[in-house]
């Protein structure tokens, strides 16, 4: 398990090292990685029925319940097949699609990184680890959406999707922590056994809400659905892979995982099916009025995701079975349609269905493949989509309680789906030849390979349902947490469900035939109530938030260094003086060792230079006087044996003076001196803060350490650290991690200064 994941992640890094000569075949070469994974899972999955689920665990931070646990069971197997299998096809497709793109190396890197994250996500048996991968998929999605980052729109869409999914991720994390507290573990396998405990826990409802927030945002459920159409800014392979077949299904995966733990309660049923039902309907409805091929597909994806959520919300054995099958159905047809849409875009230069048309003459093979995929989307026999839709109807009819509402919404959505499928196919491939920027052709087998495999796969799986049944059986047994037997048939006989299907198709075709009259009306309604409203609202919210924080920052971060210093000193002085007053801190027993003569002289010199600095008439005098104080302190260190400190002080002081001199020579002379009033104010602040430091230092002498930590260092320095210089041994051995942190901070600060100054120059 671990090794396969490592291969993918290392492959992502390694993809950057592929020599230039092999550039033309990069996608095909890299597709070997997911192919290896797919074959591996296929072999392991073949034996799962006899062996049962496999759990491997590596301790990472057991104190926090954090173990890298791989849970290889029916549900993960289903998702692993989808992620790795479609991954192979996508990479082959990308080989041609991205061939002439400047950023293709970046593309392959991120898509492999995503693939690894997604495989890790569906394999995770520990909620915390799952969350890590969950976030990683969000980030890789961000980089892939903003792939064409020179376009404002792409950046905006990427930011939007990132903000929404990450906010959901944050909620999910809180939910996971709550769940972990309730169950006392983060291991999924153990949580399933404690399901009854969790469902009756007082924290059950908040945890459910938080986890659902993660699901709703990740799987683009209403009212957070708007990021998904925006995400269509990504290159088509990304849309096909992340935003239809895999990443957006992560929320569904989480529902499948949570179902045996948190499912079955009224709260779960009502909330989940409500969200799912609404999304299903809204997505399908909004799909009709779109004219961009990818936007149409995005909205139908939203609808499909809604259907999946709804089915998990209904939470019967039948509905979960329908959900699992529909998951595969949808991944098959939607990934192939997205690839076709990308191909059309690539070959004709447009994705607008108003410009396209009659492509069947130029792209005959593509037409066949697309029609098959569309038939699956419309749910017509003998394709896999038909089985999916029949099962969904059956599950909806048997929904306890709210069957009628669910059914009406479901039939309406499916009518829209049929309509959309007809429109997609007809407007693109039939009718008159459209006037497109480029004349289309079908060259490049890679482009058509993926869609054909998936489309004919839908057909094959629809006709030969045996192997599919076994996979679903494994997954369903996992979700329902009991061994079940599943058989899938294409033909269920003439019954209620079949009647509904006939009505759906008829209504869809009918609506399509009168679209000329309907569409303008709908478009008007949509533009008034729906279109882009959510995205706009979100953007405005974001803008206002930025404005708000800008205002606040402008007040706090005024940019006057002297006032920053003043704020710090006044606050510190007030607090410390208060404490000194409360504890009578000025009662100090003076018990000093005699002060040597030269120290006294040194101190007097330092006091004198401090006064000189305060009353200096120009900057250079002030700086040099300050330097004298610094060197004086270094000498005092030296007198009392702190040699390392003294050297450091001298060097730092030298550098500071050099820096100061560099700065001031570019500054104007003192233009005006502080007014009398502000000088008095400064003097008061300086004296009171100086005096509290003095009192603190004198008090520090009085403190009686029972067991000073320095003893430990002195004792262990030579035997443990092989060094006689205790200060150095502390720095490079005992406290090396601190030192590493410090030099890192220093480096970042230096790079910050460098960038600020150099960037400023570029802007000018």
């Amino acid at each position: 398990m671990t090794i396969i994941l490592l291969i993918i992640f290392l492959g992502a890094a390694g993809s950057l090292l592929i020599p230039r000569q092999l550039d033309r075949h990069k996608g095909i070469l890299l597709s070997l990685l997911p192919l290896t994974a797919f074959v591996f899972y296929l072999i392991k999955g073949y034996h799962m029925k006899q062996v049962g689920p496999e759990i491997t665990s590596i301790a990472w931070l057991p104190q926090l319940g954090l173990n890298i646990t791989w849970l290889f069971d029916g549900v993960s197997l289903l998702f692993l097949f989808l992620v790795s299998g479609i991954g192979v096809l996508i990479l082959i497709y990308s080989n041609s699609y991205m061939k002439h793109d400047e950023g293709r190396h970046r593309f392959y890197f991120f898509i492999l990184l995503f693939m690894g994250a997604m495989l890790g996500l569906v394999l995770s048996g520990n909620l915390l680890v799952m969350f890590l991968f969950w976030e990683l998929t969000s980030f890789t999605s961000y980089f892939l959406i903003s792939f064409k980052h020179e376009y404002d729109k792409a950046r905006q869409a990427a930011m939007q999707s990132l903000l929404i999914t990450v906010m959901g991720g944050l909620a999910l994390f809180a939910g996971i922590l709550l769940l972990g507290q309730m169950g006392g573990t983060y291991e999924l396998a153990e949580l399933v056994e404690k399901g009854h405990l969790i469902r009756f826990h007082p924290h059950y409802f908040p945890a459910l809400l938080l986890i659902l927030a993660g699901v709703v945002t990740k799987s683009a459920q209403f009212p957070f659905h708007f990021w998904l159409p925006g995400a269509m800014q990504a290159p088509s392979p990304v849309s096909a892979y992340l935003h239809s077949a895999t990443m957006v299904k992560a929320g569904i995966f989480l529902l499948a995982r949570m179902s045996p733990i948190m499912g079955g309660t009224p709260e779960w049923k009502i909330l989940v099916s409500l969200i799912g039902g609404l999304t299903m309907f809204v997505g399908a409805y909004l799909a009709i009025t779109q004219t961009d091929l990818k936007a149409i597909l995005a909205y139908t994806t939203i609808s499909a995701l809604g259907t999946l959520v709804l089915l998990f919300g209904i939470d019967t054995q039948l509905s979960v079975k329908a959900a699992l099958i529909f998951l595969i159905v949808h991944a098959f047809y939607k990934a192939s349609l997205f690839m076709v849409a990308g191909m059309i875009d690539h070959k004709t230069g447009t994705r607008d269905i108003n410009l396209l048309g009659g492509l069947r003459r130029l792209m005959p093979k593509t037409t066949v493949v697309t029609v098959l995929a569309l038939l699956s989307m419309a749910g017509l026999p003998p394709l896999l989509g038909f089985i999916g839709k029949e099962l969904i109807y059956e599950a909806k009819i048997q929904t306890p309680g709210i069957a009628s509402v669910v059914l009406i919404l479901g039939v309406a959505s499916n009518v829209f789906m049929v309509w959309v499928s007809a429109m997609f196919g007809y407007r693109t491939f039939f009718g008159k030849l459209g006037t497109t920027p480029k004349v289309a052709n079908e060259k490049g087998w890679e482009l058509l390979f993926g869609p054909s495999v998936l489309a004919f796969g839908s057909l094959a799986l629809g006709l030969f349902t045996n192997s599919l049944g076994q996979l679903i059986e494994l997954a369903l047994s996992t979700v329902r947490a009991q061994p079940l037997h599943v058989e899938i048939h294409l033909w269920h006989g003439f019954n209620q469900v079949f009647l509904l299907s006939v009505i759906t198709v008829a209504a869809g075709v009918f609506l399509f035939s009168i679209r000329q009259k309907l569409l303008p009306v709908l478009a008007k309604i949509n533009s008034r109530f729906f279109a882009y409203r959510f995205a706009d609202l979100f953007n405005r919210l974001l803008d206002n938030f930025v404005k708000f924080s800008k205002n606040k920052t402008a007040v706090i971060q005024h940019g006057y260094h002297r006032f920053y210093l003043m704020t710090i000193l006044v606050v510190a002085t007030a607090f410390v003086w208060f404490q000194i007053y409360v504890t009578r801190g000025w009662d100090i027993q003076y018990d000093f060792s005699p002060i040597p003569f030269y120290v006294l002289v040194l101190t007097l010199i330092m006091i004198f230079s401090a006064l000189t600095a305060a009353f200096a008439q120009n900057r250079l005098t002030a700086i040099i006087s300050m330097g004298v104080i610094g060197f004086g302190i270094a000498l005092i260190y030296l007198f009392y044996g702190a040699v390392d400190l003294a050297i450091t002080q001298i060097l730092a002081e030298t550098l500071t003076v050099v820096l100061f001199v560099l700065v001031i020579q570019k500054m104007p002379r003192y233009a005006k001196f502080s007014s009398r009033k502000s000088r008095v104010r400064d003097a008061i602040i300086a004296l009171s803060s100086g005096s509290f430091v003095t009192i603190l230092v004198l008090n520090a002498l009085q403190i009686d350490y029972n067991d000073p930590i320095s003893d430990f260092f002195i004792k262990n320095s030579l035997p443990g650290g092989f060094g006689e210089n205790v200060v150095n041994v502390i720095l490079v051995d005992f406290r090396a991690l601190d030192t590493l942190g410090e030099i890192t901070v220093l480096s970042v600060a230096a790079l910050g200064v460098y960038t600020l100054i150099k960037m400023n120059k570029v802007r000018k």
Partner: protein, 141 residues
């Protein structure tokens, strides 16, 4: 502008500073010194040159970019954590090798020295990057 005194002084002082900075680094484990102090001293040498002969001249004698110094310093520091990890399973665990020399003396080499070298390089790089950038910005010389 030409600072004659600085230019003449620099000829001797830079060599001394660099030499002593390296000496400080190596003796740091047993006597006052170490990577941090050594780094400050080394950077002092090159700042001196930059003041006397200009940033470009100093950059030329440094030969390596300050940013690369920082990077290699951090790299060495991280590298020094690994032997302990592989030998004892703990990051940062000091690992020492004793190399016998002639006349019964032994040379002790350990990861803390490697770490300190990392500190030395990164501190030098940081200070030089800061000062060079500022001096270039303000067109010193």
């Amino acid at each position: 502008m030409n600072y004659t005194i600085l230019v003449i002084a620099f000829r001797y002082i830079r060599f001394i500073l660099v030499f002593f900075s390296i000496l400080t680094l190596f003796r740091g484990h047993n006597l006052p010194g170490g990577g941090f102090i050594g780094g400050l001293m080394a950077s002092g040498a090159f700042i001196f040159q930059a003041l006397a002969l200009g940033v470009q001249s100093s950059k030329n004698s440094l030969r390596i970019k300050p940013s690369k110094l920082i990077a290699s310093g951090l790299f060495l520091a991280i590298l020094s954590t690994l032997p302990g990890f592989f030998a004892k399973g703990v990051f940062f665990a000091g690992t020492w090798v004793k190399i016998p020399l002639l006349f019964g003396a032994t040379l002790k080499l350990g990861t803390p020295l490697l770490f300190d070298t990392g500190v030395y390089l990164s501190v030098t790089g940081v200070v030089l990057l800061l000062i060079f950038t500022l001096m270039e910005e303000w067109k010193w010389n």
